[in-house]
Amino acid sequence: MPQASKTRPKESKNLKIVKDATCTFCGCVCDDMELTVDLDEHRITKAKNACVLGRAWFYEHTLEDRPVVLIDGKEATLEEGMDEAAQILVDAKFPITYGLSDCPCEAQRVAVDIMDTINGNIDTTTSVCHGPSGMAFQGVGESTATLGEIKNRADLVIYWGGNPAESHPRHFTRYAVTPKGMFIPNGKKDRTVVLIDVRKTPSTPVADIFVQVKPGKDFELLWALRALVKGKKISEDIEEQTGVSREILDDLVQRMKNCQFGVLFMGMGLTMTRGRHFNSGAVYSLAADLNEFTHFVAKPVRGHGNVTGADNVVAWQTGYPFGVNFNRGYPRFNPGEFTTSDVLARGEADAAMIVASDPASNFAKKAIAHLEKIPVISMDVKETHTTRLSRVRFAVATYGINTGGTVYRMDDVPISLRPAFDSPFPTDQEVLEGICQRVKKLLSGKKARVAA
């Protein structure tokens, strides 16, 4: 990363090496980083083993000169910020919390507690990432595996609708394509890699077989594969429909049925396009069908560092993975009804607490317009469009760089973080705990919100 190295200062003497640190930029959550930390400059100067994205993550998260708290744009103390935030949440009739994918589980647990206490609504970035895969999972289940199992055993690796070379660069090299494993002694030579996408991407060269599907026809292609795997007929115009010839499909089916251990990785090319959860469901179903012939698993390639942790925390505390509403004093789940994009676009929420995410730049216009109308509390390590429109904004320390805690890799494997250097900013967890205590105090005794 030449740009970053240009801005890197001359090495000072007060250096620290952190071994086996974890990168939380993407869902790969690689835990083999060797960080060189300049303790005087409060920055990471070297991140051995990191990919291009990881290096940017480590190098760019320095200590910025920002106020810890701004209320209505004016600097305030942490206590004032937490007081104000608690008051906003308690005053609201339909308060929401959103984000949470870039903070550790310890913070996520407090966020759910707050929403349980105030009978609010909690949702994570899962809903606009692999939420549809979560819904598909609820419909058909999933055959899955930890990434180490894929490294050790997978001789057929299929990526569908994803571009790991640019979104998860080490997915190929650390987990699924090139590494040698217990039963894959020669690494990539022992695997067949298939890439299915609407366009050629920087990931394409890694594939032994590239299948280009017409945009928006993934479901049809998956469905045709399912039918063929089950020995059923498919319509003759399949190539016209999907852009993929019958010969390619037959070849793929044979490879899938005959492999020793197959894996289907799915990207957001499936979850974010027409069909959404049904696309994911088709992948899960295809993998399940294939288990009649061999061992086959399917996995979403999840995005943010701890979005999987968010799913897990929200699920164990409420029973549901995302989009959970506590208005009635117990959790309820209904994507589309309680998911953030929807409650904002419909103008339902009357206060929002945004933790470690940026809906004001990622959401649809209508949703952003409503966010601009209501009191927003935000916590982020950097300035974003969301922090800019917030009434109360907290500048927080960066997880994995300044703070510890637990994160879950995309395959649900939990990992503890090793912070590199201290930050003067509070952690998400500390801010959330402060707000939680205040909210509980405001709602103690007779004012306690109970079930209705």
Partner: protein, 137 residues
């Protein structure tokens, strides 16, 4: 062994439906991640690099010729719900199918995205139909 689907042209298909072609065309916008988007994001979403990355759209060179566009030209993308002006960059024909535009996720792609999630929580973030107009060089 490298099997590959034959090239096909969305644009040709769409062109048959829309008579006014040349400088205006309806195309499929596919926002996604890119390395540059990922690295610039770490610098800050309000920083110039991120803004540049997320307002640069890739287009098949053949489509660009047809629309009389050259690298660096500004185009307006217009969807049912909004519009955004971005810079266009050419891609080899074999790398990006005709009729498709790729843009890294960011505020521009969000502007074009509808809010309907079809009861899933997920807005249609990829695969949006947009109208492309040249606005300047």
């Amino acid at each position: 062994m490298g099997l590959s689907a034959p090239p096909f042209s969305l644009l040709d298909f769409i062109a048959a439906k829309h008579s006014r072609i040349r400088t205006v065309a309806t195309m499929i916008l596919v926002p996604g991640r890119s390395k540059k988007q990922g690295t610039s994001l770490n610098k800050g979403k309000l920083k110039e690099e991120y803004l540049t990355v997320t307002t640069t759209a890739e287009m098949n060179e053949r489509d660009m010729r047809r629309l009389k566009l050259s690298n660096g030209d500004k185009i307006r993308l217009k969807s049912d719900v909004g519009q955004a002006v971005v810079t266009c960059m050419g891609k080899k024909e074999e790398d990006l199918p005709s009729g498709m535009i790729f843009i890294p996720y960011g505020p521009s792609s969000s502007q074009l995205m509808g809010s309907d999630t079809a009861a899933s929580g997920m807005p249609m973030s990829k695969h949006m139909e947009v109208e492309v107009t040249k606005v300047g060089s």
